[in-house]
Amino acid sequence: MKPYLVALLAIVRREALRFLHQRSRFLAALVRPLVWLVVFAAGFRAALGLSIIPPYQTYITYEVYIVPGLCGMIQLFNGMQSSLSLVYDQEMGSMRLLLTSPLPRWWLLLSKLLAGVAVSILQVYVFLAIAAGFGIVLPPLGYLYVLPALVISGLMLGALGLLISSTIRQLENFAGVMNFVIFPMFFLSSALYPLWKMAESSDLLRDICAVNPFTHAVELIRFALYQNLNGMALLWVAVSFGVFFGLALVGYDPAYGLTRRKPGR
């Protein structure tokens, strides 16, 4: 078991150091949700009335409502960015290096995922701390309960990114991923509005949101922040993770997928 652990820790450590070295990425990762929180939410506060829905036990302001969605957004961006960096940065070379390790490939890819998750969790906690500075304070234990939720939701979104990097070659740049993955997943979810609010405008929209795994990731995080477990959301996220990761493993199988591209292209 020791070699497995040694490799995992090294991969996580490397990813964390790389992230800290890329200060612009760190800043962008923080500024993005903060802009939503401070500008967008403040503007919509008056326009959107929210009724009491679980897990909330009282009326809440819109800023409070969108915090879990923004935590999810951080992880969504992070998952897509770390997988895209595989394709477009120098990272393809380091992926090749990683895959020549004699450890099993599924373990190497899982380690890579966990490394991305660790970085995303770091970002989420910094974001939550700044949000607290703006007066959006959550139940103290919620900050602890949310950790396992962030691990599983981060794994699911990272696995999706890995799958995209291994299979879809048409997404030539980050703009493509923004348009076809990040925006639809984010807007067609419960991140910005509760599902009943969606249903007011269209049942179809609501149904799409309800099958979007990102919705379930957000709800898992939302409930955990209030020390509740949303079992259904957990199941959705876990199953989605299994499917995405399983398909990503096929994508990274040496017989197909990403590594089959001619080297140096």
Binding site: V6, I11, M92, P263
Partner: protein, 240 residues
């Protein structure tokens, strides 16, 4: 037992045939140059040897382990330096080395000891603390070669390792790798540059996915410049 043996290896990108019936075995402790023009199939061959690709055609055996049946045992015997640099520029040489050691399950003092030992073999020990970004191209490459030795492989594969380096750095690296072979390591050195090959080296000439010749450089050139022989062979495509 040979350190690396290829039997009837074939590979296609869709309809394009990249390798066809490639067979050769490396003599242990020898520097073997895999000589071929661009597009000969060298990089494809390296991807198969490092199991980035797999093929159903033919067999690759590393230190007695069939790469298809025992990939992990085979990979643990291979050290590889890819054509594209794979370095973390903002980290120190030592940290780059330790990261790679960890991918092979080696950690702590053992990793530090092996990193030191490998860097010494390449004359890079005094640079362990430097950030990779501050190194010149030649030193970066030497670090990558040292890194490929950290898990003590039996075969060292280098894919056009001197691409983009100035003449002096190239000479240095060619000399270093020849020393490694003299020390008992089996080396496969892919190149299209004949001046990197010594007379005593083994040479496999690869052209359009076929092996055209496999002999020592001295035997191949028979007193003529190797460049002439190589150009002649790859122009006509005839077997020497």
């Amino acid at each position: 037992m040979t350190a690396l043996e290829l039997v009837d290896l074939g590979y296609s990108y869709g309809a394009k045939r990249a390798l066809d019936g490639v067979s050769f075995a490396l003599r242990p402790g020898r520097f073997t140059a895999l000589l071929g023009p661009n597009g000969a199939g060298k990089s494809t061959l390296f991807s198969l040897l490092t199991r980035l690709f797999v093929t159903k055609e033919g067999r690759i055996t590393v230190a007695g382990h069939d790469i298809a049946k025992e990939p992990r045992a085979a990979l643990s015997k291979i050290g590889v330096v890819f054509q594209q640099p794979t370095l973390d520029l903002d980290m120190s040489v030592a940290m780059n080395m330790r990261y790679f050691a960890a991918l092979h399950g080696i950690s702590g003092r053992e990793a530090a000891r092996r990193a030191q030992e490998a860097l010494e073999r390449l004359g890079m020990a005094e640079r362990a603390g430097e950030t990779v970004r501050g190194l010149n191209g030649g030193h970066r490459r030497r670090m990558e070669i040292a890194r490929a030795l950290i898990h003590r492989p039996e075969v060292l594969l280098l894919d056009e390792a001197t691409v983009g380096l100035d003449f002096k750095s190239r000479q240095d690296i060619v000399a270093h790798v020849h020393e490694l072979a003299a020390g008992g390591l089996t080396v496969l050195w892919a190149t299209h540059l004949v001046d990197e090959i010594h007379d005593s080296d083994d040479v496999v000439v690869l052209h359009r996915g076929h092996v055209l010749a496999h002999d020592t450089a001295a035997e191949l050139r028979k007193g003529r410049p190797l460049a002439d022989v190589f150009i002649e062979m790859t122009a006509t495509g005839e077997t020497a």
